[in-house]
Structures are given as C-alpha cells and as structure tokens.
C-alpha cells in the first residue's frame, strides 16, 4: 500500500508537470462548456420550471465529468498507444492502477472548478435553492471513477483509430439521448429500458439527488450500479494492461 501511494504521488507529480501549461486552459474550457450547457438548453426550452432547471444544472455537471472520464482520458490513452509509449509504461516499476489513477485524477480535478461555477450560474439564472448533502463528494468521486474506468477499459481494449469515433458517440448519447438533462419518462420505453443498464442515468441521479436531496432520502441504487460499472471498467483495463503478449 505504501508503494502504491508513493507511486501514485510521484506519477501524479509527473502528470502535473506534463500538463502544467494546458491545465488552466482545460479547466477554463471545461467550465465554459458546462455553463454553456445550462444557458444553452435554457434558450432551447423557453419556460423552465424548477424541476427542469435542477435537471439541467446537475445534468451539465454530470456531462462535464463524463466528458473527462469517457472522452478526454481515453483520447490520451489512444494518443499514447499510437505513439508507442505504452510499452515504456509497461516496463515501469509501478502498480498499473496507480498509473491509471494518477492519469485520471489530474483531469477530474481540473474539471471541479467548472462544477462549482455551474452551480453558481444556475443559482443566479434560475433562482434555485439546493438541499445539498455531503454525499455529493462521494457521488462525484464515484461518477468520475466510473466514467474513467469505462473510458480506459474501452481505450485500452480498442484500436486507437476507433477511440475518437467511440468518444464522439458517447458524448452525443450522453448529451442528447440519455436521461441526464431530463427525466427518464420522456424517453420511449425501449430506450428507457436500455438506460436502466447503462451508467449515464445513474451518474446523473447520483449527482442530482445529492445536490437536491429528494423527500424520500438519497437512493442507494445509483451508487451500487456505478460501483459495478467502475469495477467492470477497471477489470477490463487492468486485464489489458497486465496482459503479456
């Protein structure tokens, strides 16, 4: 465990050095996109009630984390793969998962300021008042970890050329065709049934219902499902990373 945390810390430092020039830009763009989703959708839908506003706000935050974990992280892996850097990494004396975690944490942390800004923008724009729970923190951790684990799983398993295609698909599905920015009952039955198995709606629900806790309390199901998805993603990833040719 000490070796794990030491490796993680040093790799994290390495990553921070590597991206030190891009990181502020990344955080800024991430913030703009998230705020843009809130403001943009509120233009598309003219009369927004409190529920829709809550969906939009928390949906924008969820999309932001999904982008980082399932789009940015896999693209970086694909880039490395294409450059032939994975073999170098494989020869390093560090636990594989520490390497992944150090990669993902940088981008997730860079996305956090955006989340705060979104909450602020939404509170101003829609006059929202939230009944926030401290469980928001584990929710954010779990959503990020789940998204990154799935993203890595696919990035390590798929050919680099296909990763760009897949990340575009994920973004569109998550943004437009998932019960993230709107309730699931707006979807046709079959789509709702599919989403009962996909992680997107649970990610949105975990964020939404910890930001504004529903009357019945915070449900356990999204957390369980997300933990399951994270486990599957990590299993695939660590299998691919430790597999010997």
């Amino acid at each position: 465990m000490r070796r794990w945390s030491r490796s993680f810390g040093l790799l994290l430092k390495w990553n921070l050095l590597r991206v030190r020039t891009e990181l502020p830009m990344f955080a800024a763009v991430q913030t703009l996109i998230a705020a843009g989703i809130v403001l943009g959708f509120s233009l598309i839908i003219p009369s927004i009630d409190a529920e829709a506003a809550l969906y939009l706000t928390t949906g924008a935050m969820t999309i932001s984390l999904i982008t980082v974990g399932m789009v940015v992280a896999p693209q970086i892996v694909a880039h490395r793969k294409a450059q032939g850097l994975l073999d170098y990494q494989r020869s390093m004396p560090v636990p594989r998962l520490a390497m992944l975690a150090a990669d993902a944490v940088v981008w997730i942390v860079a996305a956090l300021p955006g989340l705060v800004v979104v909450l602020g923008v939404a509170a101003l724009r829609f006059d929202l008042a939230f009944a926030m729970s401290p469980l928001l923190v584990p929710a954010i951790v779990l959503v990020s970890a789940g998204a990154a684990a799935i993203g890595y799983g696919i990035a390590y398993a798929a050919k680099p050329a296909l990763v760009g295609l897949y990340t575009n698909l994920v973004l569109i599905v998550a943004l437009m065709f998932s019960p993230v920015n709107y309730p699931a009952d707006r979807l046709p039955d079959w789509a709702a049934a599919v989403h009962a198995w996909l992680p997107f709606q649970y990610m949105a629900q975990a964020i939404r219902e910890t930001i504004d806790v529903p009357a019945g309390g915070i449900p356990v199901l999204p957390f369980v499902v997300l933990a399951g998805w994270a486990a599957v993603g990590l299993a695939v990833t660590s299998r691919v990373m430790t597999r010997r040719v």
Binding site: L10, R18, R20, L85, D87, Y88, R90, P93, V245
Partner: protein, 325 residues
C-alpha cells in the same frame, strides 16, 4: 565463467508470437553482477523480445527466466522492481524536462529526494546534457531524448540494468560518456545487459556477449574468445591499382599466405609476430607501384560478426573468394 552468482539466468527460452513468429528459439544465457553483457544480432533477431520477457511485457512460450534466483515469469512485478530497463521505444518526455524526468524516475525506483537530486546532477553532468536539462521533452533532439531515457533507467539502478540500443542517435563524444556510465554501473555491482548494433563499440564496452541470429545464440563468449584463433592476428588490407594486379599481388602476398581479393582490395591475415615482414612486403609492393595504400589492424569483432551473420559469401555480390596461390 565468473565466480559471481548470476543475477539474470535465462534458460532455454522460446517465444512464439501469436501469428507464428518464432522470435526466440531456445535462448540460454547468464549475466553476473559486475558484468556488462552484450547482445548483438541483426534486426528482428529477437533481442527486444528477450528483454520484454524478462520484465514481463511478453510471456515466454516455454523456458525459464530467473532474476536473483526468483522466477521472473511467475512474478513480473518483482522483475520490474529489480530490473531497470531502458526500452528501445522513446521515453514519454512530452512536457517534462530531462532533469525532472530523471529525478522523478529515480524516485519512482525508490531513491530519496536528496539522492535523486544528486544522481540527476551527476548524470546530467556525466552525459554532458546540461544545456538541455530544463528544456521540455518535445523540443529535445533525438539523441538527447535517448540520453535522457538512459539516465532515467540508471539514475537509481536495480540489480539488473537492461539497455536496449542506448546509443542510437547519440553523437560519438557522448557515446563515450555513456559507455563510461555503463562501466560505472558494472563497477557498482549491477549486472548490465546491453543491446547494440554498434559492434566496434560493443567490443570495448562489454565483458561477454552473445550474437543472436533468428532467435538463436550463434556465438557466446568474451570479445577475445570470439575472435578466437584470430585473436593474435592482424588484418592487412592493401588497395592495389587494378583487379588484375590485385589477383597477382594476392598470389605472392606476405610469403604466399592465403589472401582474399575483393575488387582491387587484397586482405591477408597474419600473426602479429610476422608484422615486420609484412610491412616490408607492403612497402616494397607500394614502391613498385602495384599497391596504392595499405593498413594494418587487429581482426575486429565486426569482422567476426559479419562473417557469422552476414550474407552468405557464396551468394554475395562482392568477389570475396580466396584465391589459390
């Protein structure tokens, strides 16, 4: 064989890649502490494949690999801890400067902050890359990237150090600096495995070596042993005025020794004791205007290497056949 216990033991390793490529075909070798062990061989001979199996990037189809007595195939994590490797692929230096990368790698390998700093300074100085120590990786020349990768591997060396073509892209002066660092590693007690195509330099840098050919060890020993019967010999090379003269010169070369003719060149191997006579012969031939120039050199490992793995002399374009006197 040296008295030191082997740090790396490779025993009858066979590696057949998916798709049927037989990259290693029964390789056995031992590398002891304090030894620089060279691995030579043509492109695709299976050198990188063997190193990858030692650190658990590839899995042997059969055979055993032990590092300090521990099974490296069963425990690749252990192998990566004990062995520091400079892979043939470039290191991921994007966005980081050599000094930062070397220091971080030393710390990842377990060095304290102070020691990592000290080793980084030593290596930056020792390899003469101070001018680029704080330049970001993407702006470094290929050779400096390679030197940085070398320094990353050896800043906090494991008991086993494996270097896959460390001098590629490196200039001749810095190559010597690098060999000096390799020698220091061995003196500090590391077992060093060195893959290189630079046979001339390997001859000076390594204690023992193997030559691989299509996944098999075809020669094994110290540079002097490999030179074998050629060890006490000199290679006399004379450039004659024409191919016809070359054949004629070859017939009477150094008292009728067997000579090889290649175009206008005549090549004779002579024992070192006969060098005075050979010199007199060459000078006389030169005076008579039949030889334009000549040189004396020890039979090199490269001669041996090319003889062993080079193209089959029968099918070679060059007329390199011995001439009957």
């Amino acid at each position: 064989m040296s008295a030191q216990p082997a740090v790396l033991e490779v025993d009858d390793v066979v590696k057949v890649y998916r798709g049927g490529m037989r990259a290693n075909d029964g390789i056995s070798l031992e590398v002891a502490a304090g030894e620089v062990f060279g691995m030579l061989g043509h492109n695709g001979a299976g050198k990188t494949t063997l190193l990858n199996q030692v650190v658990g990037i590839a899995r042997p189809t059969s055979g055993r690999i032990h590092i300090e007595g521990h099974d490296a195939v069963a425990d690749p994590e252990m192998a990566r801890q004990v062995c520091s490797m400079q892979p043939q692929a470039q290191a991921p230096l994007e966005g980081v400067a050599p000094a930062e990368a070397i220091e971080l790698m030393a710390r990842i390998r377990g060095a304290s902050r102070a020691r990592a700093r000290r080793r980084t300074a030593e290596l930056v100085e020792g390899l003469d890359i101070g001018a680029w120590a704080t330049t970001k990786g993407e702006r470094l020349s290929g050779g400096v990237q390679r030197l940085t990768a070398f320094a990353m591997a050896v800043a906090e060396p494991g008991r086993l150090v494996m270097l896959d073509e460390p001098t590629n892209d490196v200039d001749p002066v810095r190559r010597r600096l690098l060999w000096a660092q390799v020698r220091e590693l061995a003196q500090a007690g590391c077992a060093v495995v060195l893959v290189t195509h630079n046979v001339l330099e390997a001859e000076r840098a390594v204690d023992r070596l193997v030559i691989l050919d299509e996944g098999r060890v075809i020669a094994h020993g110290s540079p002097a042993q490999l030179r074998g019967e050629h060890a006490g010999q000199l290679r006399v090379e004379a450039e004659t005025v024409s191919p016809e003269v070359a054949r004629d010169v070859a017939r009477g070369a150094v008292g009728g020794r067997p000579a090889t003719v290649a175009g206008r060149r005549v090549i004779v191997s002579i024992p070192v004791e006969d060098s005075a006579g050979a010199l007199a012969w060459a000078a006389r031939e030169q005076q008579e205007g039949r030889i334009e120039s000549f040189s004396f050199a020890p039979v090199s490992l490269e001669d041996i290497y090319v003889r062993l793995v080079g193209p089959d002399p029968d099918t070679e374009e060059v007329d390199d056949a011995p001439v009957e006197p």
